[in-house]
Each structure stands twice: as C-alpha cells, then as structure tokens.
C-alpha cells in the first residue's frame, strides 16, 4: 500500500479500530490535528496520515473549578474565545507560530497540538509551560490500545504522570483525542516597563534583579535595536534603541505600585518608558509569536535555544559571528531566539557546541525543507538518556508507527 491515504476517524471507537488496523498492517502514520506545526521537524513523513481533526469541541468548562476538557483538535481560536468570555486564560501564553512559519491560516493551531509540542510563551518563567497545565488525556497507543491518565482535578498523584510524558512527545507515543487542562483567571491589568539602551549583558543583570525582586514580574525579554524596530507597537518606531521589557500583571493598584518600584529601580540604567494595557498585550503577543522573525519579513533559519538565564547573552555573543545572525532573549535570558543565514547545515554544529558548553537544548523551529531533512531538529541526547527515551518509545509504540523520525531518528 504505497498510495498516500488519510484516515479521519470520527469517534474514539473508530480511532481505536483504525490504529488496530494500522498495527496489524505495520503501517506508519503521520499524526495531524490542525497541521499548524507541520513545517516543524523532518519533512519526510509517512504517506499515510491519521487525521485527528474530527476530535473537536469543548466538552466541559467550569471556570470556577479552573478546568476545561476538549477534543484534542479543538482550534485554539475556539478555546481562547471560551476562555475570554470567562475572563480566564491558559497561563503559559500559548504561542501561535502561524506568522513565524508563514502559514496562510493565522488561527490554525489546536489545543492538543499545543500540548503535544509543549510550547509556552513569555509567561513560562512564572507559570510554566503546557505540561504544567495539562491534567489528563485519553489516547490510543501505537500498540492499538486505548489508555488514559490523569483526571480533571489539579492535584493528582494517582499512578505515573503520563500527561507529562505525552506533553512534548510530538505525537510519537500515542494519538490523544481528548485532553483536560487547567485554566486560570486572566490578570485584571498588564503593564510593561521598558529600559532602553542596554546591551544583552546589561539586560541580564536587569532581568535578574527584576525577577529576584518580590514584584512578580511575569515576563522579561531583551531586544536589540534592529529587532525592537520591527515591533508594530507605536513607541518602538521612535525608540531607536535596544531595550529590556518587564511585564507586571495583577489588580490595578498593585500593578501601578510595582511598575513604580521597577521604574525607580532601573532609571539609572537607561531611559524608561511604560506600555499600558493594549500596547503591553500587543508587544508580548509579538514576543510570544516570535513576530520579529515573521516569515513575510524574514527568511532566515530560526533556532529556539533554552539555557540557564545567565547563559543567554553568552550564547548570543558566541553565535553573533554567524552570517546575518541576530537574536533576542525571552524568559529573562533563558530563551534565545536566533535567526541566522545558514545555507550550510543551518550552523547546526556551532549552535549545538555553544549550547553544550552551558547546558540546555536547541531546536530548529524554521528552516528550508532540505535542511530539515539533513540535520537533527531536536537536541541530540547523551547515550544513556537516548537509550531510555528509545525504550519508552518502544513500550508505547513497539513498531515505530507513530510519527516516525519526527523527534529523533528511530523514534
């Protein structure tokens, strides 16, 4: 059976039947929810697609219980709309990479896809990532068996926490069809304090001091001048400078009070500006979605690099000699977004070496098809860890049918 085909089960029973049949045929499949992350990872996918897009709809949402259950392929747009109406949010700032990846559909992602890729935006440093808000799921394994884990309550240590394992497994362990997540109240107010004219090293000190203060800073990033200019928020057009941005959220009086403390604290470091409600929200949406590198204005290769916060500026400086290299820092320095012109292997070995020196990992988020075929997308693991991951994979998917090679060769 070499012809490309798509299976689109419409119920849990159909999904189980389909998977059992795929197992009996030992036929590898490419799992797809809404396809918003299809351009991330090795482009060589199975000819057969298991389309999960029929699993949609919010089946339970109890805002006062802080819980929501939904079909795994429920569009994020639908999730966000329901959350908005109840003044709630997914606290980890789920990013939307549609513009970064150059997709036509700007609202294409699904809740299940967000979890399976374990992404998070600027609030990661305070609230955690998708995995920290993922309470339970129902899925079918690569053995063709239905299984579930977790529940609908926040506090649960009954059995192994398979939700953590499924989050960030990029569909290589099971096909999730129903997911339950923790929701949280949206902060009443949000403001952002900008400190201008600081380089990455100075930014490191400022961000660290801000986060180590009791002011509950919920996001901290640094942009060089060239990338600050790419913002659509008015003030940045006249800024003509690099800047650190510190976000403060909460009840109105508290936000004003804390912003004042931060302004006073850092006014000797650089010129201070403050973004209020809508500008603040807009700015952090841009950071969250990596808009400074949006595909329509930028065609460089994009690396996402996670390191200790103090290592961020060092990584940037070590990689600054690469052709057309440019980067900014999120997560108070712990996340480096790097754009680089790298026709030869995406500068992979240099990026990996720099990261390995500090401890952390680098993931290729955007790159031409040929490059994504040639290099490892995810950070290679030390042998014992890789062997363990491999054994885990084998215990969920012994024939390697689910998203083969999507994460690592052989998984």
């Amino acid at each position: 059976m070499s012809d490309a085909q798509i299976f689109r089960p419409e119920s849990a029973e159909q999904l189980l039947e389909t998977m059992s049949w795929l197992v009996s045929e030992k036929m590898p499949v490419n799992l797809q929810g809404r396809g918003s992350k299809r351009l991330i990872g090795n482009p060589d996918r199975s000819a057969t697609t298991l389309d999960l897009s029929a699993f949609t709809g919010i089946s339970l949402y109890e805002p006062e219980e802080l819980v929501m259950s939904a079909g795994a392929a429920t569009p994020m747009a639908e999730i966000n709309k329901a959350l908005d109406q109840a003044h709630q949010m997914l606290a980890y700032d789920p990013p939307n990479f549609a513009s970064l990846l150059g997709l036509a559909d700007k609202e294409s992602g699904s809740l299940g896809g967000m979890i399976a890729t374990n992404l998070a935006g600027p609030r990661r440093i305070k609230a955690g990532s998708a995995r920290d808000h993922f309470l339970g799921f129902q899925a079918v394994s690569g053995r063709g068996e239905a299984f579930k884990s977790g529940g609908r309550v926040v506090k649960n240590v009954t059995g192994y926490d398979l939700s953590k394992l499924m989050a960030g497994s990029w569909g290589t362990l099971g096909a999730m069809h129903q997911v339950t997540v923790k929701t949280l109240p949206r902060p009443e107010k949000s403001r952002t304090v900008l400190v201008q004219g600081v380089d990455a090293d100075e930014a490191r000190t400022i961000m660290s001091a801000a986060l180590n203060s009791p002011n509950e800073v919920s996001a901290a990033c640094w942009l060089p001048k060239s990338l600050a200019e790419r913002s659509d928020v008015d003030i940045f057009r006249h800024l003509n400078n690099s800047c650190v941005a510190l976000r403060v959220e909460g009840p109105g009086p508290s936000v004003q009070y804390r912003c004042k403390i931060l302004r006073d604290r850092f006014k000797s470091e650089g010129k201070i500006e403050e973004l209020h409600t809508s500008n603040s929200a807009r700015f952090w949406r841009e950071i969250r979605d990596v808009s400074p590198f949006a595909a329509k204005i930028d065609d460089r290769v994009i690396w996402k690099i996670s390191v200790a916060p103090t290592a961020g500026p060092a990584i940037l400086s070590q990689l600054s000699n690469l052709k057309n290299a440019e980067g900014f820092l999120d997560w108070a320095g712990g996340l480096v977004w790097l754009a680089v012109d790298a026709p030869k292997m995406g500068a992979e070995s240099l990026v990996r070496d720099a990261v390995n020196r500090h401890g952390g990992h680098a993931t290729l988020i955007r790159g031409p098809e040929k490059l994504r075929r040639e290099i490892s997308i995810f950070h290679p693991q030390p042998t014992p860890l890789a062997a363990l991951s491999r054994r885990l994979k084998d215990n969920f998917d012994p024939f390697g049918l689910l998203n083969p090679n999507r994460m690592y060769p052989g998984t």
Binding site: T18, L66, A146, K155, V157, E188, A311, Q381, S389, P398
Partner: protein
C-alpha cells in the same frame, strides 16, 4: 494488604548480600542487626511493618550506582527511602529487599540566585532548603505539612504538595533538574538550570513515580523571591455549603490566594482544644485564606475577599493585623493532625481529590459512612484545589477497628472517584491505595503505566508491590494481540 511472597533464595543469601554491599559501602553503612533494622520497619503509614532484609546507607553517587548494579545483577529488590514520612507506605520495606536510605545525602551543593535555583542532595529536608535561602530573601514553594522532616528526594518521588500549591504548584512544577541512578547503575542527568527538556519529559515522569523508576541522587529546584507580605483571613460559616460557595466565588472573581484551607466542625474544635487559635467553635466550616504578594495588592485583595465572604454568608470574619496573628490563624490548621491524635488513640489520614463543587455532597455522604462504621471523622481540606484529608478516628486496641477504619477510608476514596475525583492528591498510592487503582484505571491503563516501568526497570526490582495491584512480567506486558483483518470502518472518511 498482601505483599508479594518473599523470595526464599534471597532470604537465604542475606549474609552474602550484606558482605558484598559492605565491599561497596564500608564502615557502618550496611545494617543487618535486627535491633538496628527495627527503626526502618515502617514509614508514615504505621499500620504496616516489615523488617527489611538489609539497610544500606551509601554516601556517594558512585556507591549508589554500585549498590544498584549489584542488586540488578543478582536480582535483589531495592526500596529507596528518604526520611520515611510517606503516608501511603511508599517506603515500606520488603523482607527480601535492600532498603536504600539516602539520609546521608544531606548537602546543599549550590545556591544560584541569578538563575533562581538550588542544587541539593536528596536527603536535604524540604524546610532546610527554604531556611538556607531565607536570609537572602528566597524560598522553595512546595511545603508539605511534614516539611520539617521529609526530604526533597521523597518529595520528588511522591510529587509532594502543601498548602501553597494552588498558586505555586506542586513539586513537579518547581523542579529544573535531577540526577538519577538507574537500577542498572547508570548515572543520568535530566534537565539542569534551563527550562523544559529537549526530548521526552522524563523530569515530569519521574516526579511522583514513587521510587519505582530510579534513585534520585541530586535535585535542582526553583527558588522564588519571598513575597513582600502575607496576610490571612479567618472566615467562619454555618454550613460547609456556604464555605464551598465562598471558595468558588473567590476564584470566580479571579483571585488565586496563596493558600485556602477549610476545616469542618470536628476539625475546628479539635484544633481549638489543642492550640487555642481563637477559631469560632460553633462554625460548621472555617476557611483560612492567605493572600501574599506586594503590600498594595494584598491590602486590596483582603478587602475583595472580605466582601465576597460577607456576600456568601460568613458568620465571622477576622483579618490578621500582624505577622503574629497570621501565624496564630495557621497554628490550628497546622496542628490539626496532632490535635485529632489527642482526642483519639489512633487516626487514619486519607488523601483524595474531588471537583470542589462536590464538597457538600462528599461531606454529607461521609457523615452517613461515619454512622455506618461507628467511627468519627474530621476533615481538613485544601479548598482551592479540592484536595481532601479526612482523618478517621479509631482505636487499634479495639479488635476490628483498624479494619473498619480502612474500609471506611476505602469507601471515601471510591466516593472521590465516583464524583469525578482521584484516589490521591499528594500522598501517593504506595501500598495503601494500591488495590483501589482499578477504581480509576482499566487494566489497559495500568498495563501502559507498567510498561513505562519496564523501560526503566525490566526486572521489576525497584520498589515492587507498590502502586500496581498486580505484578506483570515485562515480557507479558510487551506481548501484542494483533488482530489481522479487514480495513476498519469502511465508511471512515478517507481522502
């Protein structure tokens, strides 16, 4: 509760095994003498006792690795143990198993404030971490009530919680890295000072795995700056319904307090008898609501919460005006367990989680059960996240009362699952809730969890007999039942 039959050959080889372990851990780090083994015979679930085969107390990671490697090669079971405060029997020894105690791993290795983390050995107590960074203005957020004694290694094994988890998360949300020794004696580092893992989230999987996947020898935890201030409200209600409504209304108003605890009438009075915290004795439910953060925010939220409490029929409201008063509010709650211990010869502490709205139903069903079993029960409740701790009072010297207390407890946990909750919120399954796992999971669910164990421990030597009601061999779990057949659902849309 039945544990697997001890292996006769291992029992017979006890002296040989001890001699081999002494070659790895010299000095007094290997215990075989019965009197010296006695202190290790139980953990916090004291109804169960077993003398371990041997206790070994290594001092280095290399020794841990060598002990595990030896045990793996010779098929000897291993039970890892921290301070032994588990309330679910997670650290209950096995008669044919080596008890691997990590209590000599007591060092704080590194405090890295710029990256807001601490690297510590697993035998460091939970509280010792916060104490070590207190003067510099930081703390470690998860605070299980046993925090004076329980170790961070045990916290990782059980995914420990505490009163602050609604706002600050459980252990799993506050870890950055682990060093793990596998049963094969391999030392693996997971995570570090950075966020998220590059591959599968083994950090998340290992947290709460109850010592069944590996032995943790180093933990990197997140540190948080201490909040500028904290204040608490003590709010009484004439019914648990009103108390529950108030909790829901606070969250619906977008407020996530640092802590939100509820006590029922028996718990209020037991605590008040013990510590005189000034609790309203006539209240049917008492809420302690703590707000922390910048002073301006706390003052504002205190007003908001007071208003919500009044609107929800509070019978009394007190607001802490000093740090001393705030601590007094908490003193009763923190002493609730020993307070119940004073009015009953023994008590059995349960730990289920329920959807919060089901609280009145669960409490009223629990009163019926209390009558049925003829045993009193007091309730403390992490109200924000629905984690319920019923304390069943019994007398172990009265024949049959322990059995009745356990049956009562089992009925409560089944009820938790029935209303949409889970068997355990923060104490773990251990041996205590092992045989109830079928209430929540199908055989296939449990088989998939056990396959995870197979990836780490194919010979099932690490802490066997815990968590899963039936032990399956990995070969059996790996077997596939493949149905050859027609393409399914000919009518499934295909393109």
């Amino acid at each position: 509760m039945r544990m697997p039959e001890p292996d006769r050959e291992t029992l017979a080889n006890r002296q040989t095994i001890a001699a081999e372990l002494r070659r790895i851990v010299p000095g007094d780090g290997v215990i075989v003498d019965e009197d010296a083994l006695r202190p290790f015979e139980t953990d916090g679930l004291t109804a169960y006792r077993t003398l371990p085969l041997i206790v070994v107390l290594p001092e280095t990671v290399e020794q841990v690795a060598a002990v595990l490697k030896y045990c793996h090669q010779n098929s000897v079971k291993v039970v890892p143990r921290g301070a032994g405060t588990s309330l679910s029997g997670g650290a209950l020894p096995l008669a044919d198993g080596v008890l691997l105690s990590l209590t000599k791993f007591k060092q704080i290795l590194e405090l890295d404030y710029e990256n807001r983390c601490a690297r510590v050995q697993p035998g460091v107590t939970n509280l010792a971490i916060s104490q070590a960074v207190d003067a510099d203005g930081y703390y470690y957020a998860p605070d299980p009530s046993s925090q004076i004694a329980c170790t961070i290694g045990g916290n990782v094994a059980e995914n420990a919680g505490g009163v602050h988890c609604l706002k600050y998360g459980l252990t799993t949300n506050n870890l950055l890295g682990l060093e793990l020794v596998t049963i094969e004696g391999e030392i693996i580092r997971i995570g570090g000072k950075h966020l998220d893992s590059g591959g599968y989230d083994l950090l998340g999987l290992l947290t709460g795995s109850e010592g069944m996947l590996g032995v943790v020898t180093e933990v990197t935890v997140r540190l948080l700056p201490k909040p500028e201030c904290a204040r608490a409200l003590l709010v009484g209600f004439n019914s648990s319904e009103a108390g529950g409504d108030c909790v829901a209304a606070i969250i619906a108003a977008g407020i996530i307090p640092g802590g939100m605890e509820m006590m029922d009438h028996p718990a209020i009075n037991a605590a008040e008898d013990f510590v005189n915290a000034g609790y309203p004795r006539d209240a049917q439910a008492l809420l302690i609501i703590e707000l922390d953060g910048p002073e301006a925010e706390v003052d504002y939220l205190i007003e908001e919460v007071s208003r919500i409490a009044r609107e929800n029929g509070a019978s009394s409201i007190r607001i802490s005006e000093s740090e001393q008063e705030r601590l007094t509010f908490w003193a009763g709650r923190k002493a609730a367990f020993p307070a119940v211990g004073r009015i009953s010869p023994d008590y059995y502490c349960m730990d289920g989680t329920i959807p919060r709205a089901k609280l009145p139903l669960v409490l009223s069903r629990m009163r019926e059960m209390s009558d049925k079993y003829g045993l009193r029960v007091a309730n403390v409740f992490h109200a924000g996240d629905g984690n319920l701790h019923p304390l069943i009072m019994y007398d172990a010297n009265v024949p049959g009362e322990l059995d009745r207390a356990e049956d009562f407890g089992n009925d409560i946990l089944k009820l938790c699952v029935e209303v949409g909750g889970v068997l355990t919120g923060e104490h773990g399954v251990g041996v205590e809730k092992r045989d109830l796992m079928g209430e929540m999971f199908t055989d296939e669910d449990m088989a998939q969890q056990q396959r995870v164990k197979c990836a780490f421990d194919p010979k099932a030597l690490l802490n066997p007999g815990k968590v899963f009601p039936t032990l399956h061999r990995c070969a059996e779990l790996g077997r596939m039942h493949i149905r050859q057949g027609q393409i399914p659902f000919p009518d499934i849309p295909r393109f």
